[in-house]
Symmetry: C2
Subunit: 208 residues, 2 copies
Amino acid sequence: MREGISEPTKRRLVLLEHLLSRMTGRVTSKTLSTLLGCKDSLIRHDIASIGFSKGFSNGYDVKELQNALLGFLPNYVLDKKERACIVGLGRLGAAFLDEGIFEKSGFTIVAGFDSNVNRTEILHSTFPLYPASRLETVIKAERIDWAILATKNEEALSIAERLSNCRIRGIVNYTDVTLKVPKTVALENASPVTLLKLLFVRGENSSE
Amino acid sequence: MREGISEPTKRRLVLLEHLLSRMTGRVTSKTLSTLLGCKDSLIRHDIASIGFSKGFSNGYDVKELQNALLGFLPNYVLDKKERACIVGLGRLGAAFLDEGIFEKSGFTIVAGFDSNVNRTEILHSTFPLYPASRLETVIKAERIDWAILATKNEEALSIAERLSNCRIRGIVNYTDVTLKVPKTVALENASPVTLLKLLFVRGENSSE
DNA sequence: TACTGTGAACCTATTCACAGCA
DNA sequence: TGCTGTGAATAGGTTCACAGTA
């Protein structure tokens, strides 16, 4: 991923590629902008930021634009799969063992962890499950870069710290805890409770 | 929630209240800022924005500040529980049936829906489960304002549209689909695949 | 005509810098 | 001294407005 592109733009580029992957034919910045909830000119700026300028007066060729995005975005969509793990195999964590969720996502789950050894023995999945004590060893050996955190709230902080110490690159946090991680670790919060609260606080945005 | 407060500030205020709920004694803006990953002055601006100015040279009294936030933020933390539902009761959606997840969150789940009637009959929970066909009726009758969307990707768009038509106020989206909802519907995306991709795209933020 | 591409203007959010105070 | 409270400065992101083009 090249530098000099703003964080919000990068996020929209990811979503844009995602949208285009389900489209065909041609599409205008106007259409994309309503899908993403912003102004069409912003979409055009985003597209310009990756150096793509093959738009015509009937919009962009979907596949041509998608390919430009794929060539530009990190190649998570290609063969070079990113390696991730799941930490915490309670009801929620176990739900992510479902094969197919990460199909074609560019990410493979290569390990699961839980502090409860029973779980790691009883549950089954296409990848191995380990006791949480082996977190550091396995992450290093398996060259895991990403983690999905779905432990109990009580464990979240200490596990997040251990993950950070393993030089993990990012955490998707499904616990309710506000994690403290170094700036080198990317973080996305996905806990239903936190997100409901954030929904709640969203100002009424008026009209459609 | 009063007007005139920026969206990012509101989000931080929610997280701030969350942090304070787990603290005691006194705390400085500096401490809070490292926890939230921003500058201390921003925290002080945020706090000033709700009209609180009881800080001293040893920081803020945790509970006093928390109470100010509670008095200011919408009262989801109090008795007046916000009513939410879960749509889609596959492995992921079913994980949210777990009692206790929404304990003390200010939200109660009052209904679950799935297009597979088997599931709504077999699964059990403290609240009733309905076939998806009854979505509109139940949401209206139960005065449900919020939805957690955990259907299959294929159903996501149409369900989201139906939810929007029910005048739902917000959706937490656990599907991979980029939803299109009117501006009146708040939206938070929480799909593991989408979030992993967004993590990936995050610029290396340098240092700790 | 209907769109893109893009510089400039605008607006919003964050940080800086410092006076005031326990 | 070490913190808050806050106006001013800066940075960042989005929208506007329009020239250029198939």
